[in-house]
């Protein structure tokens, strides 16, 4: 597939004007782009949903017990070392081509940041606050739900945001494995020409930025007022 793109591109001129033509392509083909966007959103949302369902309870629970830091760190390191393209290609070998192969690959990609952030978010909640809550006679469950989780929320959410950025980006590559989505247009220069490719690339970038922006706003809204003044160091915090 890289092959076709490589030969097709030479026919088009490399100029700024391509961007003008790309915008015209968007205006001329709104149906195509919206269809592909819907496919991409569907795939990404399924993957994120499954990843959250797996990683969030596990991370929060391990963090609450202050156990398994080794697991959390290893999962995050290993997750980063898995190139998304390799993951998609391996997914094809195991599950064949289609929606679920891609969803599975994307889940594997999204679990590490969500799990690691959830773990460290809960693990690092100030011990004295937890003790105070216990001293007030709160039950274990209430300590987790009413003290630890609200305080951990910004970092937990940062993990979900990072996972979402990964998933939307990689869902684009999933086109090579029959995942549909905007990547279908990007890797198909022979059909859509360079302006179509650039139009889809711009479109998917806007989609990714929009998703990240919405999640950042949601993160801010969910952050307890007392924590809001501190700058969230979401990404690097998770990365370390």
């Amino acid at each position: 597939m890289g092959e076709e793109a490589a030969t097709g591109v030479i026919a088009d001129a490399f100029t700024w004007r391509t961007f003008g033509r790309a915008f015209r392509f968007m205006a001329d083909n709104p149906g195509l782009l919206l269809d592909k966007t819907a496919q991409q959103v569907e795939l990404s949302a399924a993957a994120i949903g499954i990843a959250i369902a797996i990683a969030l309870p596990l991370g929060v629970w391990l963090g609450h017990l202050h156990r398994g830091s080794f697991v959390a760190i290893s999962v995050s390191n290993l997750g980063r070392a898995l190139p998304s393209l390799v993951l998609i290609a391996f997914g094809i070998l195991v599950f064949g081509i289609g929606f679920w192969n891609n969803a599975a690959a994307l889940v594997v990609l999204a679990v590490p940041p969500i799990l690691t952030n959830a773990y460290f978010a809960v693990d690092q909640v100030d011990e004295s606050v937890v003790e105070a809550a216990r001293g007030m006679g709160m039950r274990r469950r209430d300590v987790l739900l009413r003290v630890e989780l609200p305080l951990a929320l910004p970092l937990v959410f940062a993990g979900i945001r990072i996972g979402t950025v990964f998933v939307v980006a990689t869902a684009t590559i999933a086109a090579i494995a029959g995942g549909g989505g905007l990547g279908d247009v990007i890797v198909n220069q022979a059909t859509y020409r360079l302006e179509g490719v650039v139009a889809a690339a711009l479109w998917v970038s806007a989609l990714a930025l929009g998703a990240a922006g919405l999640l950042a706003l949601a993160q801010r809204a969910l952050t307890p007022a007392g924590l809001r003044r501190e700058r969230g160091s979401g990404r690097t915090g998770a990365a370390l």
């Binding site: 890289g2 070392a81 190139p83 590559i173």
Partner: protein
Amino acid sequence: MTDAGGPVIPNFGEGSSCVVRNRVFCVDWVRDNWHGTLEPALLQHLKLTGIAVAIGFGIALVTALVAYRARRLEGPIGLVSDFLYTIPSLALFQLLVPLTGLTVTTVEVALVAYTLLILHRNTLEGLRGVPEEVREAARGMGMTPLQTFVRVDLPLAVPPIVAGLRIATVSTISIATVAAFVIPEGLGRPIFVALSSNLFKTEIIAAGALAIGLALAADAALLVVQRALTPWARKRRPA
């Protein structure tokens, strides 16, 4: 060097019965195609990554210093690197194609952009972490600002900086596989070739394993560098 690998299209009409039947993993194919396909792809991958991380680190040192000195610029610089990081790699490569063509430059510009977020943040964090007393002590000993920076600030900032380099290197190795959409180089190349020739399994697994192995090896190598550069931290940082 760049063209040494060239496209070697596997043809599973010939070769051993393992290759013809497209079994899960054919050791003989890997042996026969190591010098022609896999080794050049690995070396290209290493080169793409090395150049990107080196340039990215150079830029991040400058932006981190600027943000450190002029706090007003910290927000905008962080925002730009955040913004770049969010754009899907495949899209960023293609967005650069109209400007720089199907060249290594296109790939390197995109790869450098992705390293910036992590390298900038960690370098800045490293510089911020140097205690003011230490700097004053250095000044008291008669060090010039340059000496203070090179001999006090930088060494003390090493752990977060190297941590950033590790993350940046590993993610660049990952993203560089996608570069094969634009130029026929790196470990993504054999994967594409195998995907488009009826899913030749051996090649996908071999190239994929090389990419993962390269990432893990680079991570381990940088950890060793970090330990060597910060002997005083050895006892405190078992990780």
